[in-house]
């Protein structure tokens, strides 16, 4: 019996940790670095420069259309979950710029986000508490497709 005790203890620990172990962060999208954000100059920065700095947008909003956006990957139970899409009216994004700009059919909003999902666990003797958290930085860039110039942007850091 004693021979099997270490094996049993090891098995117990592995199974106990199975659902509770801290996990590496899961990220979605490219990091939206402050250094790059401050380089955006409304009225000067071109659409090409934006794509060069941040890559292809996660979504492009066109007035009157419904936008399909990929959800961020996040920890759910024991595994990362994501890759789904949700739909939202483009109007909600255009509202950000509607009071400062006269929006035309040529306006587009390039939407970027960077999400980091983490989880940690507090393992006690007879209980375990696990907590997951997802933080998302979001960037909306108003581009005039006729001129190819950035007219404004909004950045929200979580």
């Amino acid at each position: 019996m004693r021979k099997f005790l270490p094996l049993a203890v090891a098995g117990f620990i592995i199974i106990f940790l199975w659902g509770c172990a801290p996990a590496p962060p899961v990220t979605t999208g490219r990091p939206l670095e402050d250094g790059k954000i401050i380089r955006i100059q409304p009225g000067k920065t071109t659409k090409e420069a934006v794509i060069e700095w941040f890559g292809a947008p996660m979504a492009i909003a066109v007035q009157g259309e419904v936008l399909k956006i990929q959800t961020e990957a996040s920890w759910a139970k024991n595994m990362p979950r994501g890759g789904y899409y949700f739909e939202i009216d483009s109007e909600t994004f255009f509202e950000l710029f509607s009071s400062k700009h006269e929006l035309t059919e040529y306006h587009r909003i390039y939407y970027y986000y960077h999400a980091v999902s983490t989880k940690y666990a507090v393992i006690l003797v007879f209980a375990a508490h696990e907590r997951g958290k997802t933080v998302i930085d979001k960037l909306w860039i108003l581009v005039n497709e006729e001129t190819g110039i950035v007219e404004d942007y909004v950045f929200r850091k979580h």
């Binding site: 106990f16 789904y84 949700f86 509202e95 375990a128 958290k133 979001k138 909004v154």
Partner: protein, 163 residues
């Protein structure tokens, strides 16, 4: 012959021990609670900072970001589900949101309702040997803000905290 029977006895003991360990460990992990926050939670001071007749649309957008949906007369809104996942968005008639303010305000074509929500899910896995399922609780805080587009000023708001 004796060795063989001893080995068999040890194997049976070890199997029982392993099973007991699995069941015991699974029972312990019952207490596991996973809370997932996907959105920025509403701060009390931000909610209290909304002053009908004074706060502007721009301030709202600055504090809370773009709304999840904008209600205006005659429109059907697509609202992302708070729990996320692959489910289709809810399609809601704008009137259901405008109705919230209809008794206190004379609504015109300039009125919009900005809708925000913040969801938090709590998952409590229940294990039974290898089969497990999870009990999920969803808490949603909801915020509706009535804005007059003509004046750009907030006229009213309703906030419901679920926990």
């Amino acid at each position: 012959m004796i060795r063989l029977s001893m080995l068999r006895r040890y194997t049976i003991k070890a199997t029982f021990l392993c099973l007991a360990v699995i069941v015991f460990a699974q029972l312990l992990t019952r207490c596991t609670v996973l809370t997932h926050k996907g959105e920025k939670p509403f701060k009390e001071d931000q909610i209290n900072g909304i002053l009908p007749g004074k706060t502007t649309k721009q301030e709202i957008l600055l504090w809370f970001g773009p709304p999840l949906a904008i209600a205006r007369k005659g429109k059907v809104m697509k609202i992302p589900r708070p729990e996320g996942g692959k489910e289709l968005p809810d399609e809601v008639r704008s009137e259901t949101f405008l109705e919230l303010f209809s008794s206190k305000h004379e609504l015109t074509g300039y009125h919009r309702v900005y809708y925000y929500h913040c969801a938090e899910t709590e998952t409590e896995p229940v294990y039974f040997v290898y089969a497990d399922r999870a009990e999920k609780k969803l808490f949603i805080d909801k915020l509706w803000i009535l804005i007059n587009r003509q004046t750009g000023v907030v006229e009213d708001y309703i906030f419901r905290r679920q926990r």
